[in-house]
Amino acid sequence: MDVRVWFLPVAVSFATAFLHVVFCKAGRHFRKWLSLAGGIAVAAGCFYSMYVNYMYLSSGQVMSLLFATLISTISLFSVSYSQWYNPEDNFVYDSLLFLFIGAMNGVVLSHSLIALYVYWEIMAVASFFLVLFTDTEEARRAAFKYIIMTGAGSVFLLFSILGIWLIEENIFWKHLFFFSMLIGTGIKAGIFPLHTWLPDAHPAAPTPVSSMLSGVMIKTGIYAMIRFYFVLFKPSWSIGWETILILIGVITLLGGVFLALVQHDIKRLLAYHSISQIGYIMLGIACGTSIGLVGALYHVINHAIFKSLLFLGAGVLIKATGSRELGNYGGLARKLPLTFGVMTVAALSISGVPPFNGFVSKWLIYQALLSKGGEIAVVALAAALLGSVLTLASFIKVLNDSFMGVKKAEISKQGLESSPFMNMPMVLLAAGCLLFGLFPGVVTERFLFPALGEYVPLNIELIKTASLYGWLALAVFCLLFIFGRNWMRKFRKTEPFVGGEIFTAEETAFDGSHFYGTIKEIGPIKRFYSAESTGKLDIYAIAGKILPGVNRVFHNAAVRAVDSVYARGSVILNLAVKKLKLLQNGLLARYIVWLFAGIIFLMEVIRR
């Protein structure tokens, strides 16, 4: 297919970024429309490639386009949203945003691994500056941590890319490169022990950027992992790795969700949920079967939809109250009905409640684990179910703290939920949550199966069953709504009995920071939380602790020791020179003696 059309999204994004620099003085109004036009053009480019050249593409190209379409669509929404969110006029932000979008599209559209790496690094640098953008102390810390960790990931990825042509030669190297690939992509995707940049960078970034980081950027890691694992290494080879991948998936899933439960900063909470959802995707990939791959890809799409929606909703809350603390929200449902609605939809999606999209993809992943068999798969299935429940629990807390209960923050309705730039993306994403849940057959057959190549599953009934559950759930919801309304009205409302004491509303309300506080007290989990809070799980913090010692060792060995050798040497040299000086005492007799000695020596040499 024509390369110019293929790289249209990348070229258009970079051109838009460039135009923002050129028209930096043109004013907010002009550049607002420039951004939107750029975003729409990028998305349109992807859809154009997807529909026009659909028949001629290989399966790998379809997968690239699938990711590119996802990235550009979510980016369009974020770009539109940031027109509302960032009212100040700053061309650097817009320019960086489009550089970031172009690089992400480049990563997934690249034909060669080196090109992938090039875009990968551009993406890292652009997102570094976006995380840094607010330039607070927190942002600086988070951005620095992010660039260091992602740089470490790049090392492993580059090593794997450069060495991958050797994998057929030697089984040891194959394992080595696979491991290296796993770390390189895993840091970007946020798998568990390597995730620690994520909960710091997501809150620090401006909200539209966090929605892109969490919604699509970490998916580029998943994309690279899928392409490497399924195309270059082949799951049929990875006999030992399958178990390890499943274990990684389980740990990521449970670790993320347990940490999310106790967070009270809304963006940090959402970041931990991203990690947990990456765990589901990992489980799908780890199965190495076609149904698992379908589930993983489907979950990638779904997670992009609902997680960016959650972040955009959180942005509205932050904008309204000026705080990220769940404890400062409360009773906002009446003030922000739209946000409440879409956040509820997204929360139900992420928890895997039918008929929303999260249910379908999780269903597929469960099916993949079931068909996989074996003890480890059963354990993973149990963990996945538990994770799903805990996710729901966590989001009940979010919805309760922010929208129900006592109103704690005075907010002005001025300008909130009125701008179409911010309304449209949220409503469209919420509609996406429902549609992708109700019509999984269309999505899988039209988009996912062409992307799979040799991994097309034979058993399509599973997906149909999922959609059946979805419709059933929708019917139940409708019935409940129709009949339940009258039934609900029969309840009698009264004041709670408090034994005579009079409490204020604030005293009886749950606080976001205490909602699941007791979970920290449960036996083995307690140690996990204390380890997390003291930074024992954070490889970045551990490295930061080790580094000064390593520094000192190397400084002593490579600088001080060498210097002292030179100093010693110069002292010895001086002594030797002083000894030699004794010969030059200025007495003629001494010189004559030396002269004769020399002549005799020379003559002796010549004589022989």
Partner: protein
Amino acid sequence: MTGQYNLLLLSMLVLPFLGAFGIRLLPGRFSIRGGLVVLLAQLALCSALLKPAFSSKFLFIEIKGILFTCDALSIIFALTSVFIGVLIYLFATGYFVKEPAGERQKFAFWGLVFVGSMMGVVLSDNLISLYTFWELAGLCSWRLIGFYRKDEHLMKADKAFLLTVAGAGLMFLGFTYIYRFTGTLSILEMTNKSIPPFVFALFFLGVLTKSATFPFHTWLADASVAPTPVTAFLHAAVLVKIGIYGMARLFGATLFVGGGVMWAGWLALFSSFAAGIVAMRETDIKKVLAYSTISQLGFMIAALAMFNPIAVRGILIFYVAHALGKGCLFLCAGITERMFGTKDIRAMGGLMKKAPALTYAFLLSMLSVIGIPPLPGFFGKVEAITGMIAGRHIIFAFMAILTSALTLLYLFRLFRYVFMGESKEISFGNAGFKPMNASVVILATVSLLIGIFLVM
């Protein structure tokens, strides 16, 4: 036609020396500008020779039986040095604005001789003339490191000079052995001949001392007492790159080493790694950059010691990238030093908002040295590491990638201290910021253009 080029070659060799003595006739105030004009002429000469050198014509001149030739390798090194020399002189017109005329004249003179000796090294075909110019460069560095003639500075200059001379002496011994094993001193004639490892070791010692590699690296960090244009000369344009050139010239495609010399690669790599770690704890901006240079030099030598053509090609690209990038970083460091009045990075901060042009230049150069695409440093490093992997040195390649990633750590740390954070008090009191800023911006832009050219 060829005769014309040979005339150009001759003028390329002698112009810096003639210019150096010529500018002594100028009044001291104009000497740096005079040097700038000479170097611009030299740049024009090099550019004129670029095409014939790449089209594999045999360009040579013979002076008293000693051959001087010019091929693609020579012209890359010559052109890069002269280009950076031009920008350093441009920078120096601003930097030395308050110095007395005599000091400016000295800088202009010795700088030109320095560039001239580099020309001599890269054009020499004879090992003896190579050695002569090699030592001449060492002499210039001695005069320039101790530029202000303070006792402490002189000590450091002596250290640099003695170490490099000692190394060069051993290298000279190596040259005599090369003569013994190949029967010639002309590099052209010794193509495809083989020498035993111990001769390589002798030569390698000269490279290690000149290119500041463990355990002979400490002089380079100490040399940061010199004024900024001088350190930029040492690190980016001339001195330490001579070792890289010698290595690339003699062992890139000419001589073969009979026997394994993997230890050389590991030694250089260790040097690179250790310097990278040490750079992370330094708080003097010029020392951080000096250790960074040591680290990058170690990387280059390690890749060259693989004797793999892909790695050599990568190192040529990386050499250009590093020269441009590190030159720019040092010049930026000079500007920040002027602004804050100190070299301590903890006393700096918040330049990002106050000096956007400087930030742009520093950032691009830094990314290029780290090896972030699409800047040229990346392509150099990738080729070099591909060469290592092609030679089946897998673990070595991994360590090399890790080492080059350390660059990211300490340069971003530097960036964080100097450009991010709270704004500190700065003084723009001194005149001369305009040419200084112009030179760093030009260097960074050229880096970017080369990178984009390599992508296309």
